[in-house]
Symmetry: C2
Subunit: 66 residues, 2 copies
DNA sequence: TCAATATGTCATATATATTTGACATAAAAG
DNA sequence: CTTTTATGTCAAATATATATGACATATTGA
């Protein structure tokens, strides 16, 4: 589970707007939010920047995942 | 530029040992250390756990990359 | 209640991460 | 000096992230 949806809503952005901001398709954002797949590091970095946060805030859980 | 090599050396691991610890090929570690490509988030998480650190420490630079 | 926008999902295509096997050189150990 | 281990790199194959177009339902707002 990642925290993209929370940070996106905090910025009042739609999935479409976020997708444009980071340069991917809307479906890509949707699938990532729903843990249907595994984004690349460079996309994670772009998401963190656009959402004014960092990698740990979006993707890190102290109690391990894969 | 990421900091995998530094953290790997701090743990006195070879590229091969690290690759086995996270379940990928040695070449994958080598290419990531040399910024030849763009690992998946799940691999980044595994690397952070094995190297006893977190995503920000390995991959985050305040002054943006891509 | 109706229209617009947002989200979830499917199927097909493409780009690229990752694997495997191999070889060369560098570095470390004997 | 010689042998082993570590690293960089290449080429071909495979797995999977991402794109594109489309459609259904949900949500929001007029």
């Amino acid at each position: 589970m990642n925290h993209i949806k929370e940070y996106r809503k905090a910025k009042k952005m739609s999935q479409y707007e976020l997708s444009q901001a980071v340069g991917v398709a809307r479906q890509t954002i949707n699938l990532i939010e729903n843990d249907k797949y595994n984004p690349s590091l460079s996309l994670c970095l772009k998401l963190a920047h656009v959402l004014d946060t960092d990698l740990n805030a979006l993707f890190w859980e102290e109690n391990n995942e894969n």
